[in-house]
């Protein structure tokens, strides 16, 4: 799924669109996606001026956006248009620097019309940099 298709599903836009491409999607089961993090990204200006590090909160956002795509592709007759993270427990294991390709994977634990529970992991160069669980409400 390319960026044009992603933008048809996700309402987020620059500088808050945290996925460039979806590489694999198994409806009802899982999704894999990535974002290339260049030094030109807006957040590196302030996080931090002399030591650019990708914010962990945005890793969590990338995971959440991948989950939103998975929900919408898995439940085609979903009436909900808004997705709210109601619970998120992520452990951050390594720092992520400019030049990285941030890969996120999301696996459904339970997905229903009113929400979903997911296991998620992010990696750079096949090394896990964050992992955890999240719950969404669909309204």
């Amino acid at each position: 799924m390319n960026i044009a298709e992603i933008k048809k599903i996700l309402p987020q836009r620059y500088p808050f669109l945290m996925l460039d491409r979806v590489t694999d999607i198994k409806e009802g089961e899982s999704i894999k996606a990535y974002k290339n993090l260049t030094i030109n990204e807006a957040y590196f200006n302030g996080h931090f001026p002399d030591n650019p590090v990708f914010p962990g909160a945005l890793t969590a956002e990338a995971m959440a956006q991948a989950a939103c795509i998975l929900i919408q592709k898995s439940i085609p007759d979903l009436a909900a248009t808004n997705f709210y993270v109601t619970n998120m427990k992520i452990r951050f294991l390594k720092t992520v620097l400019p030049g990285s390709r941030l890969a996120v994977s999301v696996k459904s634990v339970k997905m229903v019309k009113r929400g979903g529970i997911f296991e998620t992991e992010a990696s750079v160069d096949n090394e896990t940099i964050a992992k955890g669980d999240m719950t969404f409400a669909c309204k």
Binding site: T86, N87, V112, K113, R114, G115, I117, T135, F136
Partner: protein
């Protein structure tokens, strides 16, 4: 289901609820209303349902979510899908 198995089920499910809601297990009495007394919301109920499914390797349909009103109802629902009601 024997009395001791029911007690274990009660203990396990109370533990699941306590972990998800961060409420002390002793406050989760058999009749305590999840919403009124324990301040739970529908997404916490979904998390509890998913945790029960994972622990006991059972599948409980979404429409049964409404039955998660207190610990007693939750245990009864789990028993039905464990085939031991």
């Amino acid at each position: 289901m024997s009395e001791s198995n029911t007690r274990n089920l009660e203990q396990d499910i109370r533990g699941i609820i306590s972990e998800i809601t961060e409420i002390e297990p002793e406050k989760i009495t058999i009749e305590a209303d999840f919403v009124e007394k324990l301040g739970m919301d529908s997404m916490m109920a979904l998390e509890i349902l998913a945790a029960i499914e994972k622990k006991y390797k059972i599948r409980i349909p979404e429409e049964k979510l409404m039955r998660l009103k207190n610990l007693r109802e939750t245990i009864n629902l789990a028993k039905e899908y464990l085939g031991e009601s």
